[in-house]
Symmetry: C2
Subunit: 376 residues, 2 copies
């Protein structure tokens, strides 16, 4: 049962299919919704300190009311919690709570908590049940959908994990009111991404309505639901990332390289900002390769800039390495297969495609122009 | 292509189906067999120090000859390597070798190496390819078949892991010649187990031919192939252990409790010895509950004793806890669901079944008689 303010998106994965509910009041009604789908399951809530302070009590009360016994496991906020030591601790606490295979791990938090808790639920007793309650915009439109989970190692981000689909995703749009604005804006880059991949009408809608999405209410719910629908479609076509799913990396090859070049220092660059810059560059680069018009590239930049997102590496505070070193970062990115450079390029707004053999020399000369724009 | 001395067993799991090859000469021909199934894959061999000393060079040479580049990662022998610290180290070395999703982790070793390396292959880049080359009898007839992988935590054995089916299992029967005899005998308990679960003719064959199985040659190959066939059938019926697969735990509920009670100290009790005692007790207990004849229970004991396996807890060196404490160990075992005690009981040789609500009081009084047999 969903209300008029809520939306439901189905992720179609055969026996692993599940619903994403989006809208207000989902935190307070989580207990009955989980109990309905996972009768008799007990739960462990995994969350971070920031989210716990604002929302954990509401969720615990809702679970208790529905008769679901729940332990709460809190980790430090931030990317650093996606490591082996925290994984081991959370695994241990889930086991200590005597949860069994039919019991559920509930991720209440942003993408960090979702990725970590999802991985935990995938490996404790070789797989428990899992529910996502994403609390950041990025998590609601991206990381909570599609079943990728994992942690980082010294050698790179998200190099270790499992595919673990949740049984249910509850995206309460009002919890986003406590999200710092910079985080909301960064998450918005992923929303725009879906328009740019293959939904030109959605991109146009965002250009007209982005202020309402930031303000909250039904436009926000619509934008999140449309994003989930977009991601769910790609994931349904390619659950285990053998082909098409790579489209979701639009803006990410460049973006990841800048994140790596800034040592993942969030004070300089957060992920969504890297993606915004990356999407702007992907369009510029496509235009330079005569794949897409300069008008479209400029339209993308205008929208991202309007919402307050960066569009050029020159906006990143502090020094950046030179073009050659940046190319190394790109080549090291895990999306690179057997030496050939894979990029998501585009023929225009909403017409992205996977390009599997982009010549490194083209990338290098393009990077040289973007990193030294003053000189150009 | 297999020779007349080799056997092939198919594990039928839809898109995850694979072959088990059993017989001599598989180590030396591993390279071409792997290259055939996983063209262009690079490899990381995971092994332990004992196995590396005896067999790693043969495997490396075989891979090299087939044009497969391979890194070798060696862990300390023994159960202690199935922990988070070793997991993290092996994961890191696989990533350092720059292996990608289509590349393969080859487990060359006993069940410890197989469980650890399989888990690694299941989580690096959210799943790489995996090949099992089991070198202990236990690994050839049990742990390398069926896709369960994992590590231990302070709170219990095999509590963390994934289901990760291999692409191929190569069980070279001549590598068992370097296996310590006590390990071979312990693995034999699992061979006998398959007869006792649902293959009475196989059990009778073992009673007649076990000496040849220990000696090597074709009887050994036959016994291993028949065991793999038995396990593969159960696994095909119930890949994710929702029901029938529990049958494979015949002897294991008691066995695990004794392993826990002896702090997994291999100098007192190794796994297969615990299973042998557990199978003897499962038959005695079934007979006490009037499910199976005393004759069958005695026949099981006679065979296990003939091959040199223990059949009573009184044979375990050192002190054991009392019956009440042993019941606690049993109740803590992960096969116990929601308080009800689940046991594998039997109606006779080859007629085992899953009993889901064995009264703890019955178990307790049975344990009292077996732990204090002198007094009886
Ligand atoms: N699994 C996937 O498919 C996938 C996809 C994209 C990104 N990711 C991962 O997601 C992570 C980034 O996610 P993120 O941006 O949500 O980061 P995050 O989880 O660190 O959250 C960002 C910050 O916002 C805080 N926060 C979250 N919700 C809040 C709320 N409602 N109120 C107040 N504070 C709140 C968090 O405590 C944190 O400080 C990265 O690790 C990335 O690798 C995964
Ligand atoms: N995944 C499963 O389905 C499954 C099933 C049963 C058991 N297991 C696991 O298997 C493990 C036990 O396996 P194991 O008994 O093989 O233990 P093991 O891997 O520790 O091997 C036993 C000993 O024999 C040595 N060894 C192995 N092969 C040798 C050879 N050919 N020559 C010389 N030495 C050799 C090893 O170095 C080790 O010292 C346990 O951790 C258990 O949990 C897993
Ligand atoms: Zn992203
Ligand atoms: Zn066993």
């Amino acid at each position: 049962m969903i209300s008029a303010q809520q939306r439901q998106v189905r992720v179609d994965l055969g026996t692993r299919s599940y619903d994403i509910l989006i809208g207000p009041d989902l935190l307070a009604t989580a207990g009955t919704r989980i109990a309905e789908r996972l009768p008799k399951a007990r739960a462990a809530i995994v969350t971070d300190e920031n989210v716990a302070a604002a929302h954990a009590a509401t969720l615990s009360a809702s679970l208790e009311q529905a008769g679901i016994e729940a332990a709460t496991i809190t980790v430090a906020p931030g990317e650093k919690s996606k490591n082996f030591a925290t994984l081991e601790r959370v695994v241990d606490e889930v086991i200590a709570a005597k949860l069994e295979r039919g019991d559920v791990v509930v991720a209440l938090g942003g993408g960090v908590v979702g990725d970590l808790a999802g991985f935990v639920s995938g490996i404790v007793r070789r797989g428990m049940k899992f529910v996502q309650m994403p609390t950041s915009l990025l998590a609601q439109v991206d990381s909570s959908v599609g079943g990728k989970t994992g942690i980082n190692t010294q050698r790179g981000k998200n190099l270790v994990g499992v595919f673990q689909q949740p049984s249910l995703v509850l995206a309460d749009t009002t919890v986003l009111d406590t999200l710092p604005e910079r985080e909301f804006r960064a998450g918005y880059a992923e929303v725009a991404k879906y328009g740019l991949i293959d939904r030109p009408d959605f991109f146009a809608w965002l250009e007209a309505n982005w202020r309402d999405v930031f303000a909250g209410g039904d436009a926000r719910t619509h934008a999140i639901a449309e994003s989930c629908r977009a991601k769910a479609e790609v994931v349904a076509r390619d659950e285990f990332e053998k082909g098409d799913r790579a489209l979701l990396n639009l803006g990410h090859t460049f973006g990841h390289a800048f994140e790596a070049a800034t040592q993942y220092d969030g004070s300089r660059l957060v992920h969504g900002e890297g993606v915004a810059i990356g999407m702007a560059l992907a369009h510029r680069f496509s235009s330079r390769l005569n794949l897409c018009s300069m008008d479209d590239a400029l339209r993308v930049e205008a929208h991202l800039r309007a919402v307050g997102l960066p569009i050029s590496p020159l906006e990143i505070p502090g020094e950046l390495p030179g073009a050659e070193r940046m190319l190394d970062f790109i080549a090291q990115d895990k999306k690179v297969s057997r030496g050939a450079l894979t990029f998501i390029l585009t023929k225009g707004i909403g017409q992205s495609f996977v390009a599997r053999d982009v010549p490194p020399s083209e990338v290098l000369s393009f990077l040289q122009t973007t990193l030294h724009a003053e000189a150009a």
